[in-house]
């Protein structure tokens, strides 16, 4: 019998037999003497309703006080970055969109901006494409913040907030579905523009939503802000000041709740954000309450941007004019959902041999991207989303790394939770708004 890794193994006539003992956990609990030591080791997750996904927290408790927290991630690792290297640049959007599934359009935007910067076509993106991007990113920010409100409400005991938050998010997903054909994982932003134009029906829906949501927001505020339990669970809990945030690399609403108005839409604008009027909400309490206030205010600011974007929407092309890059295919709603537009296919097939060749080359081979590397950062609902894209001059990405805010922000859990109560780990973790799909990629 030999020991290898975590399981002992022995050779038998039927083959190799492993005996799995889970020794890892034994050594942790074995080091605790239950008589002289009150320390308890608690394993929370990776499947726990309060951990926002498959996050595992190993907690050491003395009574109800947390002395040590070790977040364990990686349970949702799907190799998105590696997979990108085997697809062409345009196909990349269908992968990155699946990383942070609550903010898919941000993943796509970050990736597309990086590819466009590599291509040197950032300034050639049409006005309408940029406006649609801003419009959809802000709607996505609202839906992401609504889910935060919903799940955090649930985790702190306000179950009705969960139902309301998801209900309102559904409204936004309907708008996305109307335009891109999918509720989530849209692959709607493409390098060079967006896949489809917005139909009039979706614009009408967005206008209705602009009237609908502010009323609802007031209701949520009335329901949560004045409630004593909500205040007790959030005020003065999981404090992380600006120094702590910067040391741990925490950005987004958590950093702004500590008082630093760092918002990449203002400080390093992209997609024409410099043309929109909006404020960067901040708080000074640096606690869960502050993050709640900041996120609520951000929903309102996003509504302002959506309204301005709708007003700025002028008819025009939604894709870059350069035929070497512009995607030649078009989509339409078919029998089994969104697919190739048969009309468009007939046009290409019937038009000329050259346009057929062009279509075939661009769709199967893709465009080449000059060698080099870029780093593009955008303001994601959870903080800075950075995309480091490297090209070797080929039709496939050589390397794409996503600096996902969930991954970086989760490092701050020990700093916020150690020394506090067990219940505050839940509130603190929730206030970071981690999405494990983005964290583990």
């Amino acid at each position: 019998m030999t020991q290898s890794g975590y399981a002992s193994e022995r050779e038998t006539t039927e083959g190799r037999v492993f005996t799995v003992t889970g020794g890892d956990w034994d050594t942790v609990t074995g080091s605790v003497d239950p008589l002289s030591n009150e320390k308890i080791v608690v394993n929370m997750g990776p499947q726990h309703p309060s951990t926002h996904g498959v996050l595992r927290l190993v907690l050491e408790l003395e009574g109800e006080t947390v002395t040590d927290v070790r977040p364990v991630v990686g349970y949702l690792h799907t190799g998105i970055e590696k997979n990108l290297e085997y697809r062409n640049w345009t196909q990349g959007t269908t992968f990155v969109t699946r990383a942070d599934y609550l903010a898919p359009l941000f993943n796509e935007a970050g990736y597309c901006l990086a590819v466009e910067k590599l291509l040197g076509i950032t300034d050639d993106i049409t006005e309408r494409a940029n406006t649609i991007r801003v419009l959809f990113m802000e709607l996505n920010r609202i839906s992401s913040h609504l889910v935060w409100l919903a799940t955090t409400g649930m985790e702190l005991g306000a179950i009705s907030m969960m139902l309301y938050g998801f209900r309102e998010r559904e409204y936004i997903l309907d708008i996305f579905e109307e335009t891109s054909g999918l509720r989530m994982n849209h692959a709607y932003f493409r390098p060079g523009g967006v896949a489809q134009d917005i139909p009039e029906s979706a614009i009408k829906k967005i206008r209705d939503f602009l009237v609908y949501l502010p009323k609802k927001l007031k209701e949520y505020e009335a329901m949560l802000s004045g409630q004593v339990i909500w205040q007790e669970r959030t005020q003065g809990v999981a404090v992380l000041d600006v120094t702590g945030c910067l040391a741990m690399g925490v950005t987004g609403p958590v950093l702004r709740s500590a008082g630093l108005a760092w918002d990449l839409r203002k400080t390093m604008p992209y997609c024409g954000y410099e043309n929109y009027e909006f404020d960067v909400p901040t708080a000074t309490t640096a606690d869960v309450w502050g993050r709640y206030q900041v996120r609520l205010a951000e929903i309102r600011e996003s509504l302002k941007i959506v309204e301005q974007a709708l007003d700025r929407l002028r008819p025009g092309p939604i894709f870059i004019a350069d035929k070497k890059i512009a995607w030649p295919a078009q989509l339409a709603v078919g029998l089994d959902g969104m697919g190739n537009s048969l009309e468009h296919v007939a046009k290409i097939m019937g038009q000329s041999m050259e346009s057929l060749i062009h279509h075939f080359k661009l769709v199967t081979e893709g465009f080449r991207v000059p060698a080099g590397q870029v780093y593009v950062a955008i303001e994601h609902p959870r903080g800075e989303l950075g995309v480091h894209a490297v090209s070797d001059g080929g039709t496939h990405p050589y390397r794409v790394h996503m600096r996902d805010p969930s991954f970086v922000n989760l490092q701050a859990i020990p700093a916020m939770a150690e020394g506090a109560l067990l219940a505050d780990v839940i509130a603190g973790g929730a206030s970071l708004d981690p999405v494990m799909g983005g964290c583990d990629r």
Partner: protein, 231 residues
């Protein structure tokens, strides 16, 4: 950087290649007998990254001058300065990265308070020091960004920057996990995304993607890394 004209073992014998062909080699992504066009033998060397001449333009001159002034070992530590696509990259000698990061953070005229991102890139077959680690620093005071880059051979080590930027902790762990770069002095250099007992470093270019053939409408589609693709 030197280009190593290495061909995968068995590539000329018609046998399956031992390592996946590097993206610069061949036109259809296959080696051996599958290719009858002759384009499979095409070799396109990666172009060497060359340093940019001064002046760099924008704030890049200020940043490099300030670093040169604040850091006496500038000439020894900085291998080259590259300006490309409005981004400044300082290639640093691996042993000096923590020192440089300290000055980048603390010097009044630099003030790169935030380490945005740490990640790796594997330049297999195009650089003898194939594993590169990139650090993306952001200065909130001056609203600037800069990239530091170090290069080590496989199995090489880089001093950790966690004492300067604690946020690099998990990101260095991920780089170790995915590329096998050892960060000396790191408080807890273990895998972060892959399971603890995983073998190999998945993001390396000679690590296969894996996958199984899938049947779709009667046809069998090979896994992505074995499909024919134009490169």
């Amino acid at each position: 950087m030197t280009v190593e004209p290495s061909s995968p073992e068995g590539a000329n014998l018609g046998a399956p290649a031992q390592t996946p062909s590097s993206p610069q080699k061949g036109m259809f992504g296959i080696t051996g007998t599958g290719d009858v066009s002759g384009f499979g033998g095409l070799v396109r060397p990666r172009h060497e990254v060359v340093g940019s001449p001064k002046p760099y333009g924008g704030y890049f001159d200020e940043v490099t001058d300030a670093l040169e002034e604040a850091y006496p070992g500038f000439a020894d530590a900085v291998e080259k300065v590259v300006v490309d696509r409005d981004e400044l990259t300082l290639h640093i000698v691996p042993e000096r990265i923590a020192e440089v990061a300290q000055i980048m953070r603390d010097d009044d005229s630099l003030r790169f308070e935030l380490c945005s991102s740490v990640s790796g890139v594997d330049y297999l077959n195009s650089d003898a020091r194939r594993l590169h680690v990139t650090y993306h620093l952001a200065s909130m005071t001056y609203r600037r960004r800069v990239r530091l880059e170090v290069a080590v051979p496989a199995g090489g080590s880089v001093p950790t920057v966690t004492s300067v930027y604690p946020t690099a902790d998990w990101q260095e762990r991920e780089t170790y996990d995915m590329f096998g770069v050892i960060f000396t002095g790191h408080p807890n250099l273990t895998r972060v995304l892959m399971p603890d007992d995983w073998e190999g470093h998945p993001q390396r270019k000679d690590y296969p993607l894996g996958g199984v053939p899938v049947e779709y409408k009667g046809a069998e589609i090979p896994p992505p890394d074995q499909r024919r693709v134009y490169q």
